[in-house]
Assembly symmetry: C2
């Protein structure tokens, strides 16, 4: 890949255009990721799902999917997904991972050194992040995530902030995907880290000194999805970031609430309070 | 005082127009402050200094002084200050306080409750803040500062963020002055508090819920005075806030560097490093 002026460089961003290339990249470099096959079209995808994964797995469009769009989780309920047959696009067909939890690491590389924030637990629903908190406590898992982040940054000669999302089972991690940019699961760094993922990114791409990616306290974040009005009461528990988007749409990220606490338990308690204030019992209708 | 729409209300801001009224306010309400006399002009001021304080004290213009402007510290070197005689303005003549250190508290009141940040140690030179750090460790002193902040806010029916600067000797505190606004010694809250003094102020004056004024870690700040270029190396130790002022002038506050650490000692070490990087040995020439 030719080196240009773009930071992060094109080869890192390019990986995100087609999901099957991202998956092949992990395979090629021995980076752990759920087993997968590439299908040339929807019909092939369904056939592969049957043959290789016994009709339990995930079929993902190679292009254009994010926040769970273009991803189909299939568990024997093939009838519902007949429509995939008609789609003439490249798909990735992935094994279904029965993970304990999802997690992510946010890191910044200046091309030489890498600074990793503490990984977080992420709670996604229908492929979209609802809340996350950290730091993650399993040291083995954290070590593996940092090793993978370092390796990925090195291979890609990455400059800037990026995130990697994982599935975690026991002490094992599998890469779900990586994001060559600041990340929703790193928003807590605005309030709980010495320097935020945004400032670290700017420092990296302008060739300034990176700061230590230190977390000051346990912390987390609740996404505001598909709602453009929330009760003032959330301010008791967190700090509101409102994106000022004019139009509210289903699942749209309208803002988030950052939370800091003296312990993980305090953070979890605050997240629970905020979830109740924001969504009452309507989260599933909104997603 | 009539109640208007201004927050903080006019009676609080008015106190800052004339220093002698601010001092009389403290006296009237039993708030501890250095002994003082009011002089109608410069000639009287010098006479009072001689008669009451044996030619050791501080003569301050009642109007227009800030960052040490219009303040004269006199220790028997009267010759140098002859020029004061010619000034036909009201002055405050204050006893000279041999304090152990200066300190301040930043707090926010919503008119009912008050949230106080941890007080900090302040290092001033020629009446201008050079750096500060906290939290202050003397519990008795902290308690007294909080009590005074609460009393002041109550008397003034104050809404918004404010600061009080103190002289501290042993366990005793004297009010130097108060500031009805966000304060230079509260800038650390941008990086080391759950919610900054600025957001607290906005919450207060817009009648939103105040956040806990919690400090996440020991922290501090170094002012960038009279310089418009500093070495990138400071970013190793702190986070830079640059005010973008076009013109650099002697003593002008051009920006500041915020510092966070796991201990007060780490914060002090970082401040020392930053002081050396920014000022080399030129601080006194710049002030």
């Amino acid at each position: 890949m030719k080196k240009g002026k773009l930071l992060p460089n094109y080869s890192a961003v390019e990986l995100k255009i087609e999901r099957h290339k991202e998956k092949e990249f992990y395979k090629k470099h021995g980076l752990p990721t759920p087993n997968f096959f590439i299908a040339e079209n929807g019909n092939d995808a369904l056939n592969i799902l049957k043959k290789e994964f016994n009709n339990i797995g995930v079929i993902k469009k190679s292009r254009g999917g994010y926040d769970g769009k273009g991803q189909y989780f299939i568990k024997n309920d093939l009838k519902e997904f007949e429509f995939i047959k008609e789609i003439n696009e490249t798909f990735v067909v992935e094994e279904f991972i029965q993970f304990d939890y999802e997690a992510s690491i946010v890191a910044t590389s200046d091309g030489h050194r890498i600074k990793c924030y503490e990984p977080t637990y992420n709670y996604n629903e229908k492929g979209i992040l609802v809340y996350n908190y950290g730091p993650l406590e399993n040291q083995k898992v954290k070590f593996k995530m940092r090793e993978i982040a370092e390796k990925l940054a090195r291979i890609l000669n990455y400059v800037g902030t990026f995130a990697i999302e994982f599935f975690v089972k026991d002490d094992n991690v599998l890469i779900n995907e990586f994001a060559p940019r600041v990340h929703n699961t790193g928003h807590f760094t605005l309030d709980a880290a010495y320097v935020s993922q945004f400032e670290q990114h700017i420092r990296a791409i302008t060739n300034l000194e990176l700061a230590e990616a230190k977390i000051l306290k346990p912390s987390g974040m609740v996404n505001i999805l598909g709602i453009n009005k929330i009760p003032e009461e959330v301010l008791k528990y967190g700090k509101l970031y409102w994106y000022g988007k004019e139009e509210v749409r289903k699942r749209r990220k309208m803002g988030h609430v950052n939370v800091v606490g003296d312990s993980i338990d305090e953070v979890k308690m605050k997240i629970e309070k905020i979830m109740k204030i924001i969504y009452k019992d309507e989260l599933y209708e909104l997603l």
